[in-house]
Every structure is written in C-alpha cells, then in structure tokens.
C-alpha cells in the first residue's frame, strides 16, 4: 500500500541519522558474516582439496574387511579342534594386472599399483629407516602429485639405471646423500640392494619427507621378497565426491579392502561439520546483535510518533495497518542494510585476498576465500528475519495504542 510506504518513509526521514546508524549496524553484521563465511568455507575447501590431493582418492590394500575363514572352520562345525595351525596365505593383491585391466575398463579415473617395503637406507655408514614404495612411473603420474614434487629429476629417471631410487629430501639430508650418489637399501629379510639416487621429493609434509623413498615396482618387490605381487592400488577418480560409492563397487568386485578418502578422514570431516556449526552460530549471533540497533530505532520512532499513531487510529486506520507501517520501516532498514552489507562483505573479501603470507618454508600464500551467492543470500535472509522481528515487537506495541487515551491526554 502506497500510503503505508509514504508514512514509513516520512518517519525514517525524521530520524535519518539514527536510521543510518541502525542501517550501518545491519550492514556491518551482514558484511562481516559474508566475510566470515567466505573465509571459513574457503579455508575448509582448501583443506579438503589438499587432503584429497595429497592422498589417492581410493586406496585398495591387500587386506580384507573380515579375516579369511580357515578351512577347518568350514569342515568341522560340530566339534572344535584345538591346536590346529592356521593356513597361511600369501600376502598381496593377487593378479594385479588383471585387476588393473578390469578397473580400467569401467572406472572414470586412473589406477596405479604400488608395493610397500620397509627398509633401512645406508649411506656413508649412516642408517635410517625408510618406507620404500615401488611405483609404476607411467601410471603414477595420473594418481599422485609425486611428479610435481620432485626436485632435480623426473619420475622417468627411475628407468635410467637398473636400481634407481627417489628419496625424500629430509631423508637425503639426514644421511647426507645427494642426487647421483649410490646408497645401500637393506630389506627386513637382509637383502641388500644398491640404488642410485636419481631425484629428491619434497611433499611439504616433514614426516613423509623424512621416511619416503620411491623405486620401481620391481626393485621394491625384490626388497619385499615377493615377485609378481603388489600391496596396494591407488585410485584417482574424476569426481572426488563419488569416491565412496566407487570404493564400494571395487571392494565388491575384488574382495580387497578399498578405502575412500572420506572413510580414511572420517574424523576430520566430522570435525569440519562441527566447525561449520560454530560458524553459522557466530554468523547468526552477529546478525542478531545488529538487529538490536533496528529494534532501538523502531522503538524510538514509535515512542516519538505515539501522537501520530493515535491520529491515524482515530481516523480509522486499523491496528494491522499501523503495525505494517513500522514493520515496513524495519524491513526498509533491513533491506538497505543488507544491500550495503553485501557490498561491504565483498569489499572485505577483496581486501583479505590481497594479504600475502610469507613463510620461509612454504611458498607465498593467500587467504583461501570462497565466493558463493549462498553466503550472501543466507546472511541477507537472516538479517531480514531479524529486522522483521526487531520491527514487529515495537510495531505490535505501537498498534495497540488507544487513541482515546492520547487524545484525552492532549486536550
């Protein structure tokens, strides 16, 4: 109704400065909420993407979810025999190349086999324990960031000598080895293999850089004392969110335990949910505080305009119409504040983005910010809702003014 709008505008104009303060309150609430949300969600997405990138999306290992049934269990159900020795099964994923071929046929992504072996690396009479991972360089490129993390060489260099090895940079530093040196790798069973260091790897995770070493699958199989077998398949899928269902399918098909990144990081992901909850609570609280300003203004206006309300009601304005005048005023402040807040929030995000973090250990980084209309809509919606409530309460009180009491008091 135009009339309600006209009266509301007049009221707001009569209290312009206070209205602007209230408007700024809402604007700051919305602005900071938007900024907070962008920062929180940005850092969360950054974190998740690092998590997803650092590890394969699905890891298939040579374990099974349930221990394999012993032959005796199937044959002697009635009488339990004690002292039976368990039947030993050879570890590892059997027939790995058949599995790879099968996965390649339907999987939207890439598969790479790997062999794990524990070994001691010896150089210049310094010993250090290492996890040696045997990889297929051609397949590795598509499942891990290893190629990008190499210093002073490429994964293809593994083919260069008969027993080539890539060492974690901290590991190399610890034993004093450099690219080109020949080091001794001693397996748990005592086999000694001489390897040439062809490159160093720097993943940024110091724990890994201190213990990681990469060789060809063949070399690692020799160290592990098992040929023709791999320990794990690392799988990268195109749609990371599908990892869980793909993992289930792989497990159903092969019987080997396949763990998606979501399953592997369940605890972290649930911590993120808690973080999200905290974020939304804080954002809600900011907007609630901002709405107190609106409440204050509308209260002041209703007190000031008691006489006008009495006049309007005596003329025949209904309580509903009077209520809607003040509700509209609050909503106008809410809408204007929200619009200003969106601009403020966007500007704040832009400013935060220019901040650079310099660190001697890692490259220069920027704050991860995530832009989405959802944050803006959500902040706006909560701000409008809060404004509506902040306006409704004084409006309801104002509308219940009895004109007779005011008129009697005036004359």
């Amino acid at each position: 109704m135009r009339l309600v709008f006209d009266i509301a505008v007049t009221h707001i104009r009569s209290r312009l400065r206070q209205t602007l303060v209230g408007l700024m309150g809402v604007a700051m609430g919305v602005g900071f909420s938007v900024m907070m949300a962008a920062l929180m969600e940005g850092s969360q997405r950054d974190f998740v993407s690092q998590l997803v990138d650092a590890l394969p999306h699905i890891t298939m290992s040579d374990e099974r979810r349930d221990p394999p049934r012993q032959a005796a269990e199937d044959h002697y159900q009635v009488v339990a025999y004690s002292g039976l020795s368990t039947m030993a099964t050879r570890p590892g994923i059997k027939n790995p190349y058949a599995i790879i071929a099968s996965l390649d046929s339907w999987l939207d992504g890439a598969v790479a086999p790997s062999v794990q072996a524990r070994a001691v690396i010896r150089y210049a009479s310094r010993d250090t324990a290492a996890n040696v991972t045997g990889i297929d360089p051609r397949r590795e490129v598509s499942v891990s960031k290893l190629p990008q993390q190499l210093r002073g060489g490429t994964v293809g260099d593994l083919y260069r000598s008969s027993n080539a090895i890539i060492l974690g940079d901290r590991l190399a530093q610890k034993i004093g080895a450099r690219v080109g040196n020949t080091i001794a790798v001693v397996s748990g069973t005592g086999r000694v293999v001489s390897c040439t260091v062809v490159a160093l790897v720097h993943s940024g995770v110091s724990q890994a850089d201190e213990t990681q070493a990469f060789t060809l699958i063949k070399t690692a199989q020799i160290l592990a004392g098992q040929t023709g077998i791999v320990n794990a398949m690392r799988i990268r899928v195109t749609d990371v969110m599908q990892a869980m269902s793909v993992a289930e399918r792989i497990e159903a098909q092969t019987g080997y335990k396949s763990v998606s990144w979501q399953e592997a990081n369940e605890d972290l992901l649930s911590a993120l949910q808690v973080r999200n909850f905290i974020m939304y609570t804080v954002v809600g609280a900011i907007l609630l505080v901002a709405s107190f300003g609106t409440y204050n203004i509308i209260s002041t206006i209703t007190h000031e305009k008691t006489r006008d309300i009495a006049i309007l009601k005596s003329l025949g304005f209904t309580e509903r119409t009077v209520r809607s005048i003040f509700l509209l005023e609050a909503l106008m402040i809410g809408v204007a504040g929200t619009l200003a807040g969106w601009a403020l929030g966007y500007a704040l995000c832009g400013m935060l983005e220019t901040i650079e973090f310099k660190s001697p250990f890692v490259d220069t980084t920027h704050l991860p910010l995530y832009y989405t209309p959802t944050h803006y809509l959500l902040a706006g919606l909560i701000a409008l809702l809060a404004s509506g409530i902040a306006g409704y309460l004084p409006a309801r009180k104002a509308a219940s003014v009895q004109p007779v009491e005011i008129i009697r008091g005036a004359s």
Binding site: S14, D308, S314, I407, A410
Partner: protein, 234 residues
C-alpha cells in the same frame, strides 16, 4: 386520510450506554445514557470539566467501546468489541475534529486531507487530489494546500483538520472543543464553517464545548453533569 410522518433512522444511537474506566478504583465517565443523533442535526454537548462530555463524544464516534449498553449506526448494531470493525466504520462514516489540530506535522495540508481517502482507497489518486483541493478551497485554504501544518495559523490548521474530517463524506462530524485553542475571530470562522456544513450539506455535527455562547448556536443542546444528561434543549 392519514398523514404519513417521515420516519428517519438515527445516524448514531446509544442505548443505555455506560463507560467505566480503571481497575480496582473504578471511575464511571458515562452513566446509562440513551441518545440518538438524527440526520441534519447540530448538537452541542456542554458541561463542567470532568462531567464526561468528551467521553460521550468518543462513544458516539466509535473511538471507544462502552462498558455496557448498545451502539447503533443507521439502525444497525455496532460490534463494539471489534476494534477493526469500528475503525472501518469511523473511516467510512465519521469525521473528527479535536481541540488540537492533530494533523501529521510532516505532511502538507493536501496530504493530510488525502490521508483518510487513501486509507479507504475507494477512488483514484487523481480523484482524491481533486476532491481534497476542492475541500480545502471550500474552506478558503486553496493557497495553503502545499504548506506544512507548522507554516499555518491555528485557525487555518483547524480548518485543514475539518477538511480532513470531511474527506470521505461522512454522515456525522464529531468535534471535541474545536475552538478551544483559537482566538475569538478564528473561533467564529470555524464555527461558521461547521454551521454551513449542517445547513448546506445536511450533515450532522456533534460538538463538545464549554463555551455556552457557541453552544447556543447549535440546534440542540445537551448538558452533561456527572455522566448523565441533565438537560436536552432543542
């Protein structure tokens, strides 16, 4: 041969109306009054201050609901407990003029006069503007249509208030000490306007005043003492 007397329905009728205020310590403002306002009547209500004359006017004007008794408008009972319904009837059929002009100070004379029309919303904005300007002109205010109440004299403001009271062509104008704050010249002017309304447009006016000289110019004088009608002179 029978003579057919014209049967008129009173515009507003109170039947055994009582108004009491206050919880605990009760004060009775209006005691068991029955009163009918006929079309084309100029009624003056007089009485000492605190006698309940204003309260009676508020009851007649549906501004207030009686504690007991019934109110009829053109023969139909008014649902006194329904504030929204009373507001609607006020807007459509009644006009008010108070001792204080009670104009919205941030709105021009024209906008003030248009307020009730816009609230009713029966005619177009352009028609409202034309009618409001005509009303202001008929009260000699054509030059002041776009002024704010603060820029007008007391008498002019009161005439704007009368124009506003006439906005929706009400049957009855209720005036509560309309000249109470005016000098004698302005009072005379305002009273002249009210008198002309009754004579020329056949509207009814109920006016509360303590000025017996003004009351004498009405068609009917009601004297209220202690919440009761003590005298009804036609």
């Amino acid at each position: 041969m029978t003579i057919q007397l014209p049967v008129t329905t009173p515009l507003i009728e109170l039947r055994h109306v009582t108004k009491t205020i206050g919880d605990g310590v009760e004060t009775t403002l209006v005691r068991d009054i029955s009163l009918a306002i006929e079309p084309g009547e100029f009624v003056a209500i007089t009485g000492p201050s605190g006698s309940g004359k204003s309260s009676l006017l508020y009851l007649l004007g549906l501004l207030d609901a009686p504690t007991s008794g019934e109110v009829f408008m053109q023969g139909r009972p008014v649902p006194v407990d329904d504030e929204a319904q009373r507001a609607r009837l006020r807007l459509k059929h009644l006009g008010f003029v108070f001792q204080f002009h009670f104009l919205l100070t941030e709105f021009t004379s024209l906008m003030n006069v248009m307020l009730p029309m816009r609230a009713l919303g029966k005619i177009s904005e352009a028609q409202m503007k034309d009618r409001a300007l005509a009303l202001l002109a008929s009260l000699g205010l054509e030059a002041h249509a776009h002024k704010l109440p603060g820029q007008l004299s007391g008498g002019q403001r009161q005439r704007v208030a009368i124009a506003r009271a006439l906005a929706n062509e009400p049957h009855v104008i209720l005036a509560d000490e309309p000249t109470g704050n005016l000098d004698s010249q302005s009072s005379e002017q305002v009273l002249g306007v009210l008198r002309r309304l009754v004579d020329e447009t056949k509207r009814s006016i109920v006016m509360v005043t303590h000025d017996l000289g003004l009351a004498a110019r009405a068609d009917r004088q009601l004297r209220i003492v202690d919440g009761r009608i003590s005298n009804d002179i036609t």
